[in-house]
Symmetry: C2
Subunit: 287 residues, 2 copies
């Protein structure tokens, strides 16, 4: 059973609407609150060689990235930490706190537990004006498909290109970009984490239309053969850029670096260079 098969069980029990976006959304006090939770653990999420400070930073970054993907400002983060060794706590918290500080959120508490394998769950709450929240649903055919930066750097680091190590170990959630894109009324948005193609399939899941990208529009990473660079971007894990769709009339969005990689199409499918793309990427697997 893979992640997406399990999602079907989730949908049956809590409802499909609850699973379509990066965050849960609820209306409160004239605003929208968005809330999200992410589980990370040593063997599958923290690359070898990562410091505990980086473990803390990344644990918060994944949550802030989900909040950014809704166009929201992160407000508070809570961490539940299952520690294999109490001596690790200080550096993990320092890294987590630094990430919160960098993006205007507050590390407001959490829970501590003992665990055989270091396991961290970060949960966060963000705020966005009711009209400004951006969801995965909302694109229409003809909208541009865009990304906020080059993709594949984290995967490249995993493959040994050490010049991209910092992209892998200290990812930058696109909080400012998410808010600007929301204000600019992009039509849909999500954060990329398991590769561009799988993210497009996630968008497909929430929409009646489809997505056609041109792999030659994806920026090539310096120092990496173009074929590999494209492969990492399409199917690699660890990127924290935002993927959004936008009417041609509103592009480019002021003060947001972004690259057009394709176009929303009427057909319900994901095309790369005109061919239906395999639905694969960085997937967790259960026995």
């Amino acid at each position: 059973m893979d992640e997406r098969a399990l999602k079907e069980v989730v949908r049956e029990i809590i409802g499909t609407e609850q699973t379509l976006d990066d965050c849960a959304v609820f209306s409160f006090g004239g605003m929208f609150l968005v809330a999200t939770t992410d589980m990370l653990h040593e063997t599958t999420d923290f690359p070898g060689g990562m410091t505990d400070w980086q473990v803390g930073w990344m644990s918060v970054a994944v949550t802030l990235s989900d909040i950014a993907a809704m166009g929201a400002q992160p407000v508070i983060v809570l961490l539940a930490i299952g520690l294999d060794n109490g001596d690790r706590l200080r550096e993990i918290l320092c890294g987590a706190n630094a990430c919160c500080d960098s993006f205007g959120a507050e590390l407001s508490g959490g829970d501590l537990d003992a665990h055989q394998e270091l396991t961290i769950v970060s949960s966060g709450i963000g705020i966005v004006e009711e009209g400004a929240v951006i969801r995965r649903r909302g694109a229409v055919p003809g909208d541009l498909i865009c990304i906020t930066g080059p993709l594949g750097r984290a995967q490249a680091a995993l493959e040994g290109y050490s010049q991209y190590t910092q992209n892998l170990l200290e990812p930058i959630p696109r909080v400012a970009e998410g808010k600007r894109l929301a204000t600019a009324r992009v039509s849909s948005m999500m954060d990329i984490s398991d590769g561009l193609v799988l993210s497009l399939y996630d968008l497909l899941d929430a929409n009646p239309y489809g997505y056609s990208i041109d792999s030659f529009l994806i920026p090539i990473l310096e120092g990496i053969p173009p074929e590999k660079s494209r492969e990492y971007a399409l199917f690699g894990g660890g990127d924290f850029e935002l993927l959004f769709t936008c009417s041609q009339n509103y592009f480019p969005v002021p003060s947001v670096d972004s690259f057009i990689v394709g176009e929303v199409i009427p057909e319900h499918e994901v095309l790369v260079d005109g061919i239906v793309a395999p639905c694969r990427g960085y997937l967790h697997r259960w026995k």
Copy 2:
């Protein structure tokens, strides 16, 4: 290093104020939002013989209990589930959803991951009027120390008294009671989970005053020798009752079953039957 030693590290980095209550609190839209997160996992938190439905129920109940302890109404719950086996997901979610439904909250999403040991982190958000939030701080000498129900049933079940199995496996968070107590302006509150004595030490930690209880005021559980019953109540784990302090003028609180067990005292100490109590209870331990 035990949980409380680690707490000192947390306080140094994120601040003491953030660690004093059952939930993080922030003001928003004329109300207070409270937020909490709790990590549970198979080997230490889910008693043998528990069904997956009960695992899901309990995972939500711990979070609702924290929200209840602030006097708040739970609104949404998110679950991050590290599954050892995908086949368990359905029943876990059904139990979690049932617990949310029972107390007016919505199971709004979460995260799935693969994990060697089943690990569940539930996070929740509640709402309470600004004036009504109840914290661990606030009691004054002379206030009554009260509990919302008999204690020690979960521990009794762990010790083999099977008539209390349901108390252990399907705990009831005191959501309605928490809200009524908040409206009645009790002076401080928390939820009990690691024994009455350890909870009193948690209150001590947040207050300049102390707590003196009379163990003979603790209700004795039916079918259990009084000495054992008191021991389970004082030092056992798994109870979900609320512990609160209240001016004598406001007691009893309408529509809330409660038992007086002692009194707030000027001295900064925890006394049981006039003797300083050992600071022990159900504690997780790290190597």
